[in-house]
């Protein structure tokens, strides 16, 4: 009877050993799955953040380009346009040209504030992006 019990225990141990292997594999797969499911979104978020920073830097550079080459007197009839290189990179980006009301400050009264904005519509899980700059130009002469 005692021998029988011993043999049974040995058999049980063998069975539980086989079972634990499967459990090991499942636990390992779960751990790996959790790690990967956390890592992939984190890396994607970092990449998107990098792209966002790059857009903001290049948009500001493009606004400076427009500012450098914009004539001294603003004319709403011929608004500036985005450069080809910027358009090639960000095809959906748009430039907004907005003439603001003149300042009441005496020092800047003779100048016209103009707001230039580069707007990029929302992409997957990213909000809209826009970069603005206000530049000052001479008011057009008014005929008496």
């Amino acid at each position: 009877m005692e021998k029988k019990r011993k043999t049974l225990r040995s058999s049980d141990r063998c069975a539980s050993r086989r079972g634990s292997l499967l459990v090991d594999a499942i636990i390992g797969a779960i751990i790996m799955g959790v790690a990967i499911s956390m890592l992939v979104p984190a890396l994607t978020a970092v990449r998107r953040q990098r792209q966002s920073i790059r857009f903001e830097s290049l948009a500001m550079l493009e606004l400076n380009n427009i500012d450098a080459l914009l004539p001294d007197t603003v004319d709403q009839a011929s608004p500036p346009a985005l450069s080809e290189w910027f358009h090639n990179r960000y095809a959906t980006a748009q430039l907004k040209f907005e003439i603001l009301p003149p300042s009441t400050d005496e020092a800047t009264k003779i100048q016209q504030p103009v707001r230039l904005t580069i707007h990029r519509p929302a992409e997957t899980s990213l909000p809209d992006q826009q970069v603005s700059v206000v530049i000052w130009r001479q008011l057009p002469e008014v005929a008496p």
Partner: protein, 215 residues
């Protein structure tokens, strides 16, 4: 279940307790070892891939940071120089500005481009004064261009914009991913800045546009 082995010996049948069968036990152990090795190798492979991805991401961040830092520094300095005196493009690799009409005492600024390195040298008369370098990631290319100016109907003197064109390294640049533009000067141009076929991707460029000298 109680398993017994009936052993026949010298015509006497005698039952004995079963000893573990060496062949079966060994096979079972080998099987376990194989499964453990599979699980361990899968874990190690995934850990290696994760580490590799993290390192690549770090390198990529470093390149991005180097590119944007150098670009913004160069832009600031170029605009400051163009604001003081109009820049004149001498060749695709050189442009200059001069602050005084007197050549002997003039402050002369010379911008030179050599693959991924932009150098700004200042000379007071004949004497070198200072030098500054703007280093872009390896594989970058920089050139100076003089754009065609528009002619105004009013006859106003029109300046032609000067363009500093920076081409980013292509995906084929695999050497020294975290290095800078200074490490590839001894390589042939085709190897230092390999171009992607036009059908695959267009090269990514950035242009800094500045006021040039009057036409």
């Amino acid at each position: 279940m109680n398993r017994k082995l009936i052993v026949a010996s010298a015509g006497v049948r005698k039952s004995q307790p079963v000893k573990p069968i060496a062949g079966r036990r060994g096979g079972s152990l080998f099987h376990h070892t194989l499964v453990y090795m599979t699980i361990a190798s899968a874990l190690l492979t995934i850990t290696g891939l994760v580490l590799h991805t993290a390192l690549k991401a770090d390198q990529s961040d470093r390149r991005e940071s180097l590119f944007l830092t150098s670009l913004l520094r160069a832009e600031q300095q170029l605009r400051a120089d163009a604001g003081q005196s109009p820049l004149t493009v001498n060749s695709s690799r050189e442009m200059a500005a001069q602050f005084s009409a007197d050549a002997a005492e003039a402050t002369r600024i010379l911008w030179t481009a050599d693959r991924g390195i932009l150098t700004r040298s200042v000379r007071q008369g004949e004497k070198p004064d200072s030098s500054d370098r703007f280093i872009f990631p390896a594989g970058s290319q920089i050139e100076f261009l003089q754009a065609e100016g528009e002619t105004k109907p009013t006859g106003e003197v029109q300046t032609t914009p000067v363009i500093v064109k920076i081409t980013e390294p292509s995906a084929l640049v695999t050497y020294q991913a975290a290095a800078d533009g200074g490490t590839n000067r001894n390589k042939p141009a085709a190897e230092a800045s390999p171009a992607l076929p036009a059908a695959v991707a267009r090269p990514k460029t950035v242009e800094i546009r500045l006021q040039g000298a009057p036409q």
